[in-house]
């Protein structure tokens, strides 16, 4: 027989709008406005999942984001399925499908439940202790532990939803739209401040909005109706933006906050279409007002985790707000007045209350008198000693508390029930405050931590600041805002408030029972199955710091971060250790406050937006000609151009041969280019390069090597003197931004007296490099007016030229060792120049080549690539490039470091050429180089940095760094590989055309 648990008066519920959904495969119905939790409760379903470690049946405990137990797997397709979704937060929609987690084969019959029986064998630290030895067994243990660990399942396919980020700047951010947040929003916005109010729930008003008891009145209206009017009023305010379903995840320094705005999770799937699912709001607020309220505390007693045990405030919310009775035989268990508010709500709705168990011996307040008037039995000075019922609570045993509250006395009374509401008082939600770096203080009266020292321009108001009663909130909120916002008055300065709550409370962190502690299961952290016994064990084993106890017992380390139980953990630790609360530290709350999906965190930084790509002006031509691309820094560079069935090796061999025998063409636009002007430009170059620049004639180019101050090679490139006080420097592709930054640094900080201006022109120019014996013929056709004779235009010089009407710069410089020209032209004409060169080179086998061939060609000439043959530990001397280090210059960056005791050592790693005995054997880049493989341990001498098969030399060539390599010329060394040892001979790193004849060929 189905019970009727649906009440007629739920504030949030639209009874005209029925919604069907599935839980564990069965179809149920709820109404618009229901959360999954309220809809399940209305269907009398309390058993939601199994606990993490002992697989104990667990149900819905709360009505909010603090929920530890009722976490479900949402959706069942492999791309959208999502674990650990709180049933108390997800709003139901037509077609919703959810299932229980951490149980197999079903939540009703779960094999893992055996862990519950084995629990005496699974104390805190069990895994640490058991699987330590022998170490080699870890891999085997891990397999089984991993299979049984974890909550829920991750999706296996890419997330199809769209997530976005958004930056928001406001004067005031208010977190939480309960009564104090609403008041703050009105005050701030009415004072001309650009205000943002965010609320994690779908509606505004917090717990006051469904408060319709005559015991709580504002200006003679019940508090709920009063607040409703206020909400309607603030919705009209111009300066105020309100975002619901928006949960603040992180509160960082400088009032930088991250919030997740949930846009579609409450909609039926067919209405989500291409809408953004979540937005991650990156909020910068001049002022932050935290009004996050408080979370009701459970109490710690034996078997306090059964389905059917809820927070008392949750029972009230389910009844008043969602119109659902959590049970037909309810018992409330409390140490303060809050449970009586729940009782009054239930009485109003005609829901049966069996009894109220109150820790306090003496209680008196209007609320209690009213409850007593309704003939409800109140057991004063009693505690719940134990509970019964495996998949749903069915009875409890209660006993009287001793005077000191540490023992139970007298006879045991058994009461039957189907729902137990627990109220252990309230814990201010200071999570965000502490995330921001705030320091807490402890209030003894009601045993709570409160904001004390604010680390930034912020304020906590309402329950999160320890104001738990309506009159405190209404009195203190306007007062503290007047002070905080430096204003004269507010609309709320003269409210008439009546509130019946009495603040008395009897706090006992760990309630006694008639069993010894070792035999009890009093859960402190429900999600991670950490009990009071575990915490005491940790203390017995010597842990003292709360942070250590937390890690050892895993208390507070679940997806809920112990929002319910952390205070009890602290309390039990302090009590046991005989310390004051707070003395042993409080645990740190870390972002996010509630879990975020990865999609929200990454936003649109996925797929093509995962990383930035930079394209040259000739990029489209490379695409049209089927180039393969390689990432160099953020650039997409043409890597090689395979023809028909060519693989990379074939293509590179063909391109390399063509460049030396006919003509090659390379897109060198990615090289960094810095325009240098000023009367001290030459002096500046003298200071930053290792070689001398003063005497470079106008129109000439020179290769330069740049060091760090520690003497290590930093970058290299050719710089051209365009005019007396005007140079253009080229840098490596990857180093461009860093070189520019470094040069600016020296100019601005060390040598501000120099008259030098630097401007990046990397993107302004397309650079087309034509090389090979036919390069001159090709360039002469493209730029017919330019005299290309060696007399007029020798190697390492530059000319201004015109192609049609367009000015360009032509450099005769070479990175391949061939006769070659670099045409630098404004980027928007680059593709056209390239095409003109291709056209002119048709008869000369002009061959486009990519970065791989470029690397091969330069390796044949022994030219280094900074970053490949060097790694920030190589000096120019190590590279055998002594020739470029000026002996005459008094100083340049890095000079002093070249004769530090360490850099002058003879046996530093030095760059050498390597030739294999077998000319067809190509070494692997990165392979280690040794001399003696019989010595143990083998001494590593260095490694291979560049290696290729050279089609022009018809043998393999390699560069490598070898300890003391400079003096090893002709010596045999060994490259030990997995399957064989390869013999190599140390050689001159210049393999081809040592005399540089080809440059002028």
């Amino acid at each position: 027989m189905t019970k009727n648990l649906r009440l007629k008066t739920g504030k949030a519920i639209d009874e005209t709008y029925r919604i069907s959904f599935k839980f564990n495969g069965s179809t149920y119905y709820g109404f618009k406005g229901d959360t999954l939790a309220s809809a399940l409760l209305a269907n009398d379903i309390h058993l939601i999942g199994r606990s993490f470690k002992y697989h104990r049946p667990r149900g819905i405990m709360t009505a909010g984001s603090e929920e530890p137990n009722a976490i479900v797997q949402l959706h069942n397709d492999s791309s959208r399925t999502e674990p650990n979704v709180r049933a108390t937060e997800i709003e139901i929609y037509e077609g919703l499908e959810a299932s229980s987690q951490n149980c197999w084969p079903s939540v009703n019959f779960d094999i893992g439940g055996i862990n519950n029986l084995l629990s005496p064998l699974l104390p805190a630290g069990f895994y640490y202790k058991t699987f330590m030895w022998p170490a080699s067994f870890w891999e085997k243990y891990e397999y089984f532990i991993r299979r049984s660990a974890g909550l829920g399942k991750s999706p296996t396919k890419p997330d199809p939803d769209i997530y976005e980020h958004k930056y928001i700047h406001c004067d005031v951010l208010i977190i939480g739209a309960g009564i104090s947040g609403i008041m703050a929003a009105k005050i701030a916005a009415k004072n001309g401040l650009k205000t943002l109010l965010v609320e994690e729930k779908p509606n505004l008003g917090g717990s006051t909005i469904y408060q319709n008891s005559d015991h709580f009145k504002i200006n003679n209206q019940n508090s709920g109706s009063w607040l409703e009017k206020e909400i309607n009023e603030i919705k009209k305010l111009k300066n105020l933006e309100i975002k619901t379903r928006t949960s603040v995840a992180a509160f960082h320094g400088y009032n930088f906050l991250l919030a997740r705005e949930n846009l579609t999770d409450h909609l039926p799937m067919n209405q989500r279409n291409d809408k953004t699912r979540h937005k991650l709001l990156k909020i910068r607020a001049k002022k932050v007002i935290t009004a996050t309220g408080s979370i009701e505390r459970p109490m710690i007693f034996d078997n306090n985790d059964r389905p059917g045990i809820l927070l008392s405030s949750a029972i009230k919310k389910f009844a008043d707000y969602f119109g659902v009775a959590c049970g037909e035989k309810n018992i409330l268990f409390t140490n303060n007045d809050s449970a009586y508010e729940t009782a009054i709500s239930l009485i109003q709705k005609g829901i049966n209350i069996e009894a109220i168990i109150d820790n306090r011996e003496e209680v008196n307040s209007k609320l209690i008198y009213e409850v007593e008037k309704n003939n409800i039995k109140i057991f004063k000075g009693y505690t719940v000693a134990n509970t019964f019922g495996y998949k749903r609570i069915n009875k409890i045993s209660i006993m009287q508390l001793s005077k000191d509250g540490q023992k139970v006395v007298g006879p045991k009374i058994i009461l039957s029930c189907d729902c137990l509401g627990v109220s252990g008082g309230w814990t201010p939600a200071v999570h965000l405050f502490t995330q921001s770096g705030g320091k807490l203080k402890f209030r003894e009266d009601d045993q709570v931590f409160l904001p004390n020292i604010y680390p930034s321009d912020q304020l906590s108001i309402g329950a999160c600041n320890g104001d738990f009663t309506l009159d405190e909130i209404l009195r203190n909120t306007p007062k503290s805002l007047i002070k905080y916002l430096k204003i004269k008055n507010t609309d709320y300065d003269n409210l008439e408030v009546s509130s019946s709550t009495n603040k008395s409370k009897r706090n006992i962190w760990l309630l006694p029972s008639d069993k010894i502690l070792g035999k009890t299961k009093s859960f402190v952290d429900y999600q991670n199955d950490a009990t009071a016994k575990d915490i005491k064990l940790a203390l017995r084993e010597g842990f003292r710091s709360i942070e250590h106890v937390k890690r050892y017992t895993t208390t507070g380390m679940g997806t809920d971060q112990g929002k319910l139980g952390n205070m009890h953990a602290l309390g039990i630790v302090s009590e046991t250790a005989g310390a004051k609360m707070g003395e042993l530290g409080t645990t740190t709350f870390r972002p996010p406050y509630t879990p975020l999906t990865f999609g929200t965190i990454v936003g649109r930084n996925v797929g093509e937006y995962f990383d930035i790509f930079r394209k040259t002006p000739i990029h489209d031509w490379h695409i049209d000609h089927k180039a393969e691309f390689e990432n160099v820094g953020q650039w997409k560079r043409a890597w090689y151009y395979p023809k028909e069935n060519e693989n990379m090796h074939d293509a590179v061999q063909r391109e390399s041969k063509a460049a030396r025998e006919g003509a090659g063409i390379l897109d060198a636009s990615t090289l960094g280019k810095i325009d240098i002007q000023g009367t001290d430009a030459s002096e500046f170059l003298n200071r930053i390069y290792t070689n001398a620049w003063s005497k470079l004639a106008v129109g000439k180019c020179r290769y330069g090597l740049m060091l760090n101050e520690d003497g290590m090679v930093y970058d290299d490139g050719v710089t051209t003197r365009l005019d007396e006080n005007h140079y253009i420097m080229t840098t490596t592709t990857g180093g461009a931004a860093n070189v520019m930054g470094k040069l600016e640094d020296y100019l601005q900080t060390e040598w501000p007296e120099l008259d030098v201006y630097l401007t990046s022109v990397t993107d302004h120019f397309a650079t087309v490099s034509v090389c090979g014996p036919n390069s001159k013929k090709i360039v002469s056709q493209v730029i017919p007016d330019l005299d290309l004779s060696d007399e007029n235009f020798p190697h390492m010089s530059f000319k201004n030229a015109k192609i049609g009407n367009i000015n360009c710069r032509v450099m005769r410089i070479s990175f391949t060792g061939e006769h070659s020209y670099e045409i630098n032209i404004q980027a928007n004409y680059g593709k056209s120049v390239w095409e003109k060169c291709m056209e002119a080179g048709k008869d000369y086998n002009i061959t486009p080549y990519g970065t791989e061939t470029m690397h091969l060609l330069r390796a044949e000439k022994g030219f280094i690539i900074v970053g490949q043959d060097t790694d920030a530990t190589m000096t120019p001397i190590d590279l055998q490039m002594d020739w470029i280090v000026s002996k005459k210059k008094y100083d340049f960056i890095g000079k002093r470091s070249l004769y530090r005791s360490d850099t002058i050592k003879e046996n530093r790693k030095q760059l050498v050429g390597l030739l294999t005995d077998d000319p067809n054997e190509v070494l692997e880049e990165g392979a280690q180089i040794v001399a003696d493989i019989n010595k143990s341990p083998i001494e590593m001498l260095g490694h291979v940095t560049s290696s290729y098969y050279s089609p022009n030399l018809k043998k393999s060539i390699a560069l490598g760094v070898v300890r003391g390599g400079k003096n090893m010329m002709g010596q045999k060394l060994i490259i030990p590989m997995e399957k064989k040892n390869i013999n190599v001979i140390v050689a001159d790193p210049v393999f081809l055309d040592k005399e540089n004849k080809r440059l002028n060929a």
Binding site: I162, E164, H165, K166, Y167, I168, H169, K194, D274, K275, T276, K282, R284, R604, E608, Y609, I612, F613, R614, K615, T616, P617, W635, T670, D675, Q677, G678, T679, N725, H726, D755, Y757, T759, S760, V761, T762, D763, H764, F765, I803, G804, N805, I806, N807, I825, Q826, A827, N828, Y829, G830, K831, S832, V833, E835, K836
Partner: protein, 187 residues
């Protein structure tokens, strides 16, 4: 004759937002520190360089953006002839500034792509990828800032209400354009 290839061939239109490259625009980076430099520049072109940070100045033909205490970008208000890259303005400034060592003039016409945005959703678009606070900026005609959009460095010039010029380095422009179109499609 060489063909001219602009960086972003398409124009994109969304509700309340149009995005397109304006080309060819002459752009020069002007550098200098001396007082004579500022006055020489003003005399040469009849436009004062803005010395207040984050501002710009404008004449009939030219706009000057403040980039740093000794750096400005000068650009032509109207597209120029794409069949030449001889600029009279550049020549004039070279003679009046660089040649007499008052400062430096560098042609960056193709270093930067100028993207013009029109409509009332411009700043909503920027908010999806820029940490800069545009709240006051959008009401200041002629305001200029350099910041980041979608991890890419940009210069933003608030030309007029609902008209913005954005400058981005050419190699980044296609990526940024694609990112802007993606974001704009959901505004």
């Amino acid at each position: 004759m060489l063909n001219y290839n602009q960086a972003l061939p398409e124009k994109k239109s969304f509700q309340d937002l149009q995005i397109e490259e304006i080309k060819p625009i002459m752009k020069l980076i002007i550098r200098g520190k001396k007082r004579e430099f500022i006055s020489a520049f003003g005399k040469a072109l009849n436009i004062l360089l803005p010395t207040e940070s984050n501002t710009s100045t404008q004449s009939d033909k030219l706009t000057a953006l403040w980039l740093s205490p000794d750096e400005w970008m000068l650009f032509s208000n109207k597209p120029i002839d794409e069949n030449t890259n001889d600029y009279d303005t550049e020549k004039l400034l070279n003679n009046k500034i660089s040649k007499i060592n008052l400062g430096a003039i560098t042609d960056v016409s193709d270093q930067f792509v100028m993207i013009n945005l029109k409509g009332n959703k411009i700043y909503e678009l920027f908010q999806t990828g820029s940490p800069f606070n545009f709240n006051n900026f959008q009401n200041k005609k002629g305001a200029v800032i350099q910041t980041i959009l979608a991890k890419i460095g940009i210069i933003v010039h608030n030309q007029d209400k609902n008209i913005v010029n954005l400058f981005v380095r050419r190699s980044f422009s296609q990526h940024l354009f694609s990112w802007m179109n993606d974001a704009a499609s959901r505004l």
